[in-house]
Amino acid sequence: MTYMKPAFRNAICTSSHFLNPKSIIIVPSKLSSLQSLPTLRTSLSPSFLRYRFRFETFRLLSPAYCSSFAMAGGDHPASASSVSLEKQFEDFRLQLEESGGFRERIRAVVFEIESTTRLMHASLLLVHQSRPTPELLEKAKSQIAVLKGLYNRLAEVLSQCPGQYYRYHGDWRSETQSVVSLLTFTHWLETGSLLVHSDVEEKLGLNNSEFGLDIEDYLVGVCFMSNELPRYVVNQVTAGEYDCPRKVLKFLTDLHAAFRMLNLRNDFLRKKFDGMKYDLRKVEEVYYDVKIRGLTASGEVNGDQGIQGQS
């Protein structure tokens, strides 16, 4: 900043006054009046401009001019080394701007994934108010096709930066975990079994593309689904479905046992898995409450007569 000559500073200040959204178009012409500066980029792409002006315009713009100014006629000699230094950082900035652009496109798709997930979740929430009907599940499942389309778009964006899946992974991680939890929950309501990783990939159209579903994300999603089950059991029993706790307990016990096979690190997945035992306990309690009052006897109990005999 100290290198800036007063006249130049004035020019910048005036132009920055004009930088309200309406007058963005006139900016390139203002810049072109400064073309005499050797390192100034005159061909600014539209996305470059947009990116710049979104944030503190003046602060981001001015150092660029300051530095080129200092180099051109500043107080220390513009040796070959400082030119190459300048050049490298210029390259970095372009690279980082490009990846910022990628990120924006990814976020746009993820935003849509999130809102689709919300719709699906809202329709699935109805299972707590009644018995799950096929129509209800169909409605929830209709969103799967939408999600598939969105994941295809995401995969397409990512195909333009190969080998960098995990660079941007954080941008869709938590949304994908919710998607997994909804898909596995829907599937469980339909069939009573767990939708495995490869099947989730298939449903999302990811099984033969570069863009896959991270296994840890899948597992976290399954944990989220397990969190939904206690509430489901409670509401089903209230609605008079007394055999439900037994089925859920069976499933959740198996699921918990399966999770115990994993060697987890001390990370988020571990935390979610540790929470699963509370879901299990809650379901056990409901099962116990129902059973001790002999409410299950009214339903078909062929399957667990053995257990009943033992207890």
Binding site: P63, S81, R167, S193, K250, A257
Partner: protein, 282 residues
């Protein structure tokens, strides 16, 4: 009780998943419902065996990468200390030793990391190796600056890593973010170096360090807003500004009170600074 029995069944099934159908079909024909649940359970089981394998492999790999990264950090630090041992008189040999040490870090420890990560998406484990790589960049750029007064470029560093890996696989290339984070740390070392040089009387060198550190800081101000996780970098930028200011202040002090330092700076023999006075006047 329920719990343990089902767990027991699972471990049994895990060893012989392929015989499961037969077993369930013959023994439990009377109860079709049970057959179905066992089959789904085993599908779950098979799937979880796969996940276990995946997680185990990943965790092992991460552990190895973390270890490699720690070794790199430790040995890069040694290189940096070696450079700091430099004085006016032994510059050549100290730097030579530092370069040799750095080459050893590259060949011994960086190559381990390169071999571990080549051909994979190295962004996945970035958090495991990033600290080591940053320290390595710090050491490499520090050495290079002391030797030539210029900044070692990312491309040059990456070029030295290429021969370490298998050419058929996609090689590990240090990414821009780690390079920039490493550079941010470099200023701290430059500050120490500058102070050392000033007390050693090498004022020109100190001035060179000063303008170099300024250049880096200035260039980084432009780049940092575009970095992925700039919060980490922002704190580094603050520390960096502090370092640059310290160098500037030190340079200022000797500039203003330069004459008071003169007797010491001209001396060839540290033990006899009074004898050194005539040297100055020559």
């Amino acid at each position: 009780m329920f719990y343990t029995s089902s767990l027991h069944r699972i471990t049994l099934l895990a060893s012989k998943p392929q015989r499961l159908h037969q077993f369930a079909g013959t023994k439990l024909q009377s109860s079709p419902k049970r057959t179905r649940t066992i089959v789904t359970e085993s599908a779950m089981n098979d799937a979880f065996t796969k996940y276990t394998q995946y997680l185990n492999d990943l965790n092992d790999k991460r552990e190895r990468v973390v270890k490699a990264s720690r070794d790199i950090t430790m040995n890069s630090k040694k290189v940096i200390f070696q450079v700091h041992r430099m004085s006016k008189y032994n510059k050549e040999e100290v730097l030579k030793k530092a370069e040799k040490d750095l080459a050893a870090v590259t060949n011994q420890y960086m190559s381990r990391l390169v071999k571990e990560l080549q051909g994979t998406d190295f962004w996945k484990l970035r958090r495991a190796y990033s600290p080591g790589v940053q320290e390595y960049i710090e050491a490499a750029t520090f050495c290079k600056f002391c030797k030539t007064g210029t900044l070692l470029n990312l491309d040059e560093i990456n070029a030295t890593l290429l021969p370490l890996g298998d050419p058929s696989l996609e090689p590990l290339q240090i990414n821009v973010l780690d390079y920039l984070l490493g550079l941010a740390d470099l200023t701290g070392e430059l500050m120490r170096l500058a102070i050392g040089r000033i007390s050693d009387g090498e004022l020109e060198f100190a001035k060179k360090i000063c303008s170099f550190a300024r250049d880096i800081y200035r260039e980084l101000t432009l780049v940092v807003p575009h970095m992925d996780d700039s919060s980490d970098m922002k704190t580094k930028m603050d520390t960096m500004l502090q370092s640059v200011k310290k160098i500037e202040n030190a340079c200022f002090s000797v500039h203003v009170r330069g004459s008071e330092y003169m007797p010491l700076t001209g001396s060839n023999d540290p033990s006899s600074f009074l004898v050194g006075v005539p040297d100055i006047e020559l």
